[in-house]
Every structure is written in C-alpha cells, then in structure tokens.
Amino acid sequence: AQSVTQPDIHITVSEGASLELRCNYSYGATPYLFWYVQSPGQGLQLLLKYFSGDTLVQGIKGFEAEFKRSQSSFNLRKPSVHWSDAAEYFCAVGEQTGANNLFFGTGTRLTVIP
C-alpha cells in the first residue's frame, strides 16, 4: 500500500537560510510524487511534481526537489527562505494506474524567523 512519511512535524529557519523538508514514500512501482503548500486559511497549491526523467525537478517560488529511488525519498529544498514561505508543506504520492488518488503525508509546518 502507498504511504508517505514526513518525519519533521515542525521546522524553524531564519530568513535567508537554506531549507530542506524531508519526504519518504512507500510504493510498489515508480511513484508519481508531489509537493503541495498550504498557507494559513488557504487551500493547497502545487509546488512541483515528478513523474519520470530528470530526478531534480524545479517548481514555483524557487523550490526544487530531488527524487532518490535508492532512498525512497523526495526531499524539498530552497536555497534561501523568505518570510512568505511560512506555511504547511505536504508531500504526496500518486498512483500510476487507476484514478487520480493522492496519498498525502501529515505535513511539515515551516516557521520563518526574521
């Protein structure tokens, strides 16, 4: 069965510092992987996605993520965090076949301090 683990419930970084949010997945085949961001009181917005090909994917707002099959990971990174990046971040895995059923991790809350 598919599952997603985000080991860090809450991360605090200083503005301008680099960021890495961890995501590990469990899936029998090559997964489709996603990162979504949820700002306070808002719905989820897609940051980036990986289906195949280049394992380093670029997303919006300066985010990138790297798919590492050997580690079953899809970590999200940003070289320099801005105060507006404070939000909840969700990693998700999608199935290659069947309906568009996304399985989400429990999220990582990012706090940015000045």
Partner: protein, 114 residues
C-alpha cells in the same frame, strides 16, 4: 475569478444535524474530489467524480453523500453529523482522473460539530 470555490468557509452545527457543503470549479475540468483534513492535518481522499460519475469512494460512512449535478459542481451532503466529522473539507478538481493531471484545491470548509 476563483478557480475552485467552496461554500461555506465555516460551518458550525449541532450533532445530529444534516448539512451540505458546495463546491464549484470554473476551470472546465472533468474530475472533482472531496478530501477530509483532520485535526492532525492528515489529508485523505473521500470521493472522486469524473464527468458526474463516481470513480473513487474510499471507506467513508454512508452518512456522507456526494452529488454532482454537472461537471462544474460537486456537493457534499452529510447526514446525522457526529463529533468526529469535525474537520476541514477540501474540494479539488483536475482535467482528467489521471495522476499526471494536477489537482487544484479550493480554500476549504472548516466544519465544527458541537
């Protein structure tokens, strides 16, 4: 020109009541979804409709009944509300029921059952 909208944004009601949440998308998408986000931020799919036909029906009590009057709308009706139904409910849509199609989320409806 909100892409995916939900009403109401907040809903407070007593146990045993029946309530509905409405969702509309103006993206021209064929597929719509309902997700439930519990108090621990865990996000799980409940239903998915494609062209007004049910395609995903996860293990959800039959007190929850989705209705899709047309492709642009997917409403969620909940009978005999229970305390455990308190959560944030998100509607989403995608072009097609495929994991390669990005899901666009609404702002959520926070349901509180007293």
């Amino acid at each position: 020109d909100t892409a995916v909208s939900q009403t109401p944004k907040y809903l407070v009601t007593q146990m045993g009541n029946d309530k509905s949440i409405k969702c509309e998308q103006n993206l021209g998408h064929d597929t719509m979804y309902w997700y439930k986000q519990d108090s621990k931020k865990f996000l799980k799919i409940m239903f998915s409709y494609n062209n007004k036909e049910l395609i995903i029906n996860e293990t959800v009590p039959n007190r929850f009944s989705p209705k899709s009057p047309d492709k642009a709308h997917l409403n969620l009706h909940i009978n005999s509300l229970e305390l455990g139904d308190s959560a944030v409910y998100f509607c989403a849509s995608s072009r097609a029921p495929s994991s390669t199609d990005t899901q666009y989320f609404g702002p959520g409806t926070r349901l509180t059952v007293l």
